[in-house]
Symmetry: C2
Amino acid sequence: MAGVKIYDTAVSPQWIDYNGHLRDGYYSVIFSSAVDALMDRVGLDEAYRKHTGCTLYTLEMHLHFLHEVKQSDALSVQVRILAADRKRIHAALEMYAEGKAEAVASCEFMLLHVSQNPEPRAVAFPPEIAAAIEQLRQLSAALPAAGPGSRTIELRSRT
Amino acid sequence: MAGVKIYDTAVSPQWIDYNGHLRDGYYSVIFSSAVDALMDRVGLDEAYRKHTGCTLYTLEMHLHFLHEVKQSDALSVQVRILAADRKRIHAALEMYAEGKAEAVASCEFMLLHVSQNPEPRAVAFPPEIAAAIEQLRQLSAALPAAGPGSRTIELRSRT
């Protein structure tokens, strides 16, 4: 296992496509919910968002699809905090299906802390949130990756 | 405008998150449906899939979130075929909201042609499909990008 377990979910029947597998777009929806769980863990939870008007915006997401996922699979997501600064979190998430050793997908996110009112603008994390992010980073940054990381997508000829 | 228009959609109320905007994961769901439209356009449609047992698998997806999308936005997606080989398509998709000049998101996909039975394996496109892909590539490859392309996600310090 590659990171700190943060989220688990069943596969909704509506997420299955005409190929009989989890549709690519819904891997992202699951990873998005896992980021919500990450937010809860570091204190960027509903109460914080309501009280401060601050939240995370996703700037970028890079997803590798490694194995098919079926309706019957029980999924879990693990997280590694690769880096963070005053306003941003660079996180790597990996998805597993119960009973399979290899990750079924890996995903990197760049997340930005934003104050939404009156106009959205990037703001620094409060100290206690920054400390919680740093604690999780120290716990997870050095753990091994279970799938490819972000890179430039390109087609190298194999024909 | 940056590519060949391939898909349009309204924003489903279920896709709006606690920030009041289109949830990041649903940008991917919309891009995924746009890839279905791309498949229809080059002949990898439902009849083809049923007849041949072949389809496209998504290997990789890299998404940049450029602007917030609201419930009331009417969205369209444009495609550029950046490259293709015997079995793969490297496509860039850009999402627009009606009435706004700038793209709200850009996304690159690496797609692989797969024969699903008896076991999934990569296979070459039939000649007529390859020709349709090449025609769309010639039409779109040189069109300008409307958002960032795929790159390695990394946090350069701005603090």
